[in-house]
């Protein structure tokens, strides 16, 4: 059997508004941008992407699920995405609930806040994973079994955690420097793990769609279903699983409808399933499909980003490190405040998009367009972030003082 393992990632961060240092101490709302057209207006952006990508692509997925019993798909949906969808596009959640009922849609586990907590605070990390599992169960009635970490970041430690936690499998980048002569088309066993399995992204075939589909300078442009399917079939000579992992927004937002991306996708599903040797698998089915081919070790963190495939876009300069140290350094005080609002704001500030907006690594190449950001510059991103943390600090001090005062009152009462 030749199998496509299609996995799509759905995420929206809460972008910080242009939060001035003079707002510190009196404006505790970091997320509501009043200017509708600002790049940091979360509502406008969510609604825009919902129209361009979430709704049309979900409709196509639903259609494929209804028309082809062999079609399956896996989705990862972050907690911050779910909340914003509930506010601004509740029908998107309803569609997701509907397609989950087919039993052929698997939801992938991850951190609720799309955070880098694993690299800073394992306990916080696990709480976010559990919180995510809870909301997925609550909304969609399914248990998550396969884990993906933010930005597909992965290393041996993460695999050990997943093994201990009872995850059936993990998703990671099938990066040549790690795989060397090996193929990403097999199930692997992460180094030192008993039960958990590892699936690796076939980045060439995934990126043919996600990055190159609309590139008119690409020598294979325009990409037809026939051509792409012949590549898929050729690739299966190296192993049975074609792991196509990509952002959900590839369809409609990153690559616009007028390129023919939706039609391409629909036709690909039809054309692939026409051959009875072909099928689709969800990620957990893929984990169970075969015994692991070999053990694989990734001592260093590998991600699905950039040519470096590392965390340098998130933790590449000292601003990013300082920002992350500062936010995770607040943990104790945030927990002691016993204030749900504090906890929520603190966790939203952990979303990996924040340090990403502070990335400066392409400045030297002059390749500034490689990064999307709602801010004018990475320095602006840092300024607003640190201003928000300053306000958090003041709120924490205030709460601590109030607590002290009440505990004194209690003492004097006694």
């Amino acid at each position: 059997m030749r199998s496509i393992v299609l996995y799509l990632h759905m995420h929206q961060p809460y972008r910080l508004k242009h939060y001035s240092i003079f707002s510190v101490g009196h404006d505790h709302d970091y997320w509501t941008e009043k200017d509708w057209y600002a790049g940091t207006n979360n509502e406008r952006i969510f609604k825009k992407v919902a129209d361009k990508s979430y709704r049309p692509m979900l409709a196509i997925l639903e259609k494929c699920l209804n028309n082809y019993p062999g079609f399956k798909v896996s989705l990862s949906i972050t907690g911050t995405f779910i909340e914003q969808a509930q506010f601004w596009a509740p029908d998107v959640i309803e569609t997701l609930q509907r397609i989950c009922k087919t039993g052929r849609v698997e939801i992938v586990a991850e951190t609720y806040y799309h955070s880098l907590a694993f690299f800073f605070d394992k306990q916080e990390f696990e709480e976010q994973v559990v919180k995510h599992q809870k909301i997925i169960k609550e909304l969609f009635g399914v248990d998550t079994q396969v884990f993906r970490n933010t930005e597909l970041s992965y290393n041996d430690d993460l695999a050990k955690w997943a093994d201990d936690f009872g995850m059936k499998g993990l998703l990671a980048e099938g990066w040549d420097k790690v795989l060397e002569w090996r193929s990403p088309n097999f199930v692997y066993r992460p180094a030192g793990c008993k039960n958990t399995r590892l699936l690796l992204k076939n980045y060439r075939l995934s990126d043919d769609i996600a990055f190159r589909f609309s590139d008119k300078h690409w020598k294979e442009w325009p990409l037809t279903v026939e051509k792409y399917q012949s590549w898929l079939e050729a690739a299966t000579l190296n192993g049975p699983l074609i792991n196509l992992f990509m952002d959900f927004e590839t369809f409609g937002e990153n690559i616009w409808e007028d390129t023919g991306i939706f039609k391409f996708f629909e036709h690909l599903v039809y054309s692939w399933l026409k051959d009875e040797n072909n099928n689709f698998l969800t990620v957990s089915e893929a984990c169970d499909s075969d015994e692991p081919k070999a053990e694989l070790s990734m001592p260093w963190t590998v991600t699905w980003a950039d040519t470096e495939r590392d965390l340098s876009a998130w933790l590449g300069n000292s601003m990013q490190h300082e920002a992350m140290q500062a936010v995770y350094g607040m943990k104790q005080d945030v927990l002691e405040s016993e204030d749900a609002h504090m906890l929520e704001d603190w966790r939203r500030l952990q979303t990996s998009d924040h340090p990403y907006y502070m990335c400066t690594k392409y400045f030297n190449d002059g390749d500034v367009h490689a990064y999307f950001s709602p801010y004018d510059s990475p320095y602006d991103a840092f300024l607003y972030y640190m201003n928000a943390l300053r306000d958090m600090r003041e709120r924490l001090d205030e709460i601590a003082e109030k607590k002290k005062a009440t505990s004194k009152e209690v003492e004097t009462d006694n």
Binding site: F22, H321, E322, A323, F382
Partner: protein, 406 residues
């Protein structure tokens, strides 16, 4: 290729970036084989590599601007009773004599092209083109709209600037911002204007910062103070009132800050009064007009350099400050921001953002270090040789058109 370069100043007889730009551009052009005669309106010794410097007038460099940009001879006559009125020149007189010199020059020599720098020399450039048929390239380092603020400026200068721009075969603007002004305010077609950013030449000398120059500041720095500086003429163009108010807001949040205002100009007294009114005069230092080593010591002691201009065609001082290790905070209205990425930018009126940036920079080693390291990698890439190459391609283009015409 023989180029007649028309300028108004060269270092050390310069009052700002214009002279510096003219010097480096001419020397780099000479390196690429251009034969340059550079005309200045005063008499002084200049030693430029491969460039002939010609004096149009026998006056001291100090008097090249005459009384002022206005025809103020009459006032000067009344002010200085015992001055010989014949010797008193307004800037218009200086310009007329400059034109006469250029005319005499062109009767003898046949340059391939005239390259005129700013309105001061445009009349001479127009003369060269109209009377002698020499193609004219007008280089715009600043417009009267920059110098005079949005609606102001001297109408006579506007007229000369306009005539020069409309007559020129090609216009070079030092930034996209400047090009936009030329298009929007003077109605010149955009395709006649090329943006040629200024270069930057890191001084290759034995300058060494001497920490004893500003002992008071050094001792404050040891106590944890952050030194923020700005350098330039204290005029409307520089947006210094906004800067001063932002300084006051920043000091409120982070008292350990010292602001250095290096330069001089008509707003100096207002600025001093303002710092007192805002209650921050203890944190503000006025150095007066400084140059050379003193100026470089200021750059060296400073941690953050602010360019607060309302409208700045380029802004060479920012690159000088970066060279001496400053983090840069620059208005979006400054042209130099178009070629730099490792900077914090703000709108000139956005005092909150400037103040916030200064406080964050003062309090975050990570931010100041990222800015400093980033800018160090950037400014070195902006070379005068690249500017010269671009100029030569413009010269060739202009000359090709000229041949086609005949």
């Amino acid at each position: 290729m023989k180029i007649l370069m028309l300028g108004w100043e060269l270092p050390p007889h310069n009052s700002g970036g214009l002279g510096v730009a003219c010097l480096h551009l001419s020397e780099s052009l000479a390196k690429y084989g251009a034969d340059i005669d550079f005309v200045v309106p005063y008499e002084a010794e200049h030693h430029l590599k491969g460039v002939n410097v010609l004096s149009a007038l026998h006056i001291d460099p100090l008097f090249r601007y005459g009384g002022s940009a206005y025809e103020s001879k009459l006032i000067e006559e009344k002010r200085f009773k015992n001055v010989k009125t014949k010797e008193l020149m307004s800037i218009r007189d200086v310009q007329h004599t400059y034109c006469e010199f250029v005319e005499r020059y062109l009767m003898e020599f046949k340059p391939d092209l005239v390259h005129a720098h700013d309105w001061l020399t445009y009349e001479a450039g127009i003369l060269a083109k109209k009377n002698f048929g020499v193609p004219l390239v007008a280089h715009v380092h600043a417009t009267e709209f920059d110098r005079g603020g949005a609606n102001g400026g001297n109408p006579l200068i506007h007229e000369i600037e306009y005539q020069g721009l409309i007559t020129a075969d090609k216009i070079l603007a030092v930034s996209q911002a400047t090009k936009n002004i030329i298009v929007e305010k003077y109605g010149i077609p955009a395709d006649k204007i090329d943006v040629v950013y200024n270069g930057f030449e890191a001084p290759q000398d034995l300058y060494k910062y001497d920490s004893s120059s500003y002992q008071y500041l050094e001792s404050l720095k040891k106590k944890g103070y952050t030194v923020v500086s700005t350098v330039g003429r204290f005029t409307l163009q520089k947006g210094l009132f906004h800067f001063m108010r932002a300084a006051a807001r920043a000091i409120k949040l982070h008292p350990k800050m010292i602001f250095l205002f290096a330069g001089d100009g008509e707003q100096k007294e207002d600025l001093m009064r303002m710092s007192a009114d805002l209650g921050i005069s203890r944190n503000v230092i006025f150095t007066g007009f400084i140059r050379g080593k003193q100026l470089r010591d200021i750059y060296s002691i400073s941690d953050v350099f602010v360019m607060s201009s309302v409208s700045e065609p380029f802004g060479l001082t920012a690159l000088e400050a970066a060279h001496h290790g400053n983090a840069l905070v620059i208005t979006k209205q400054s042209g130099v921001g178009e070629v730099l990425r490792s900077i914090v930018q703000y709108d000139f009126w956005d005092e909150d953002k400037l103040a916030g940036a200064l406080v964050n920079i003062a309090e975050s080693p990570a931010l100041i270090n990222t800015l400093r390291d980033g800018i160090k990698r950037e400014y070195g890439r902006i070379s005068w040789d690249d500017v010269a190459k671009k100029c030569i391609s413009v010269y060739d283009e202009v000359n090709k058109h000229k041949r086609n015409r005949f």
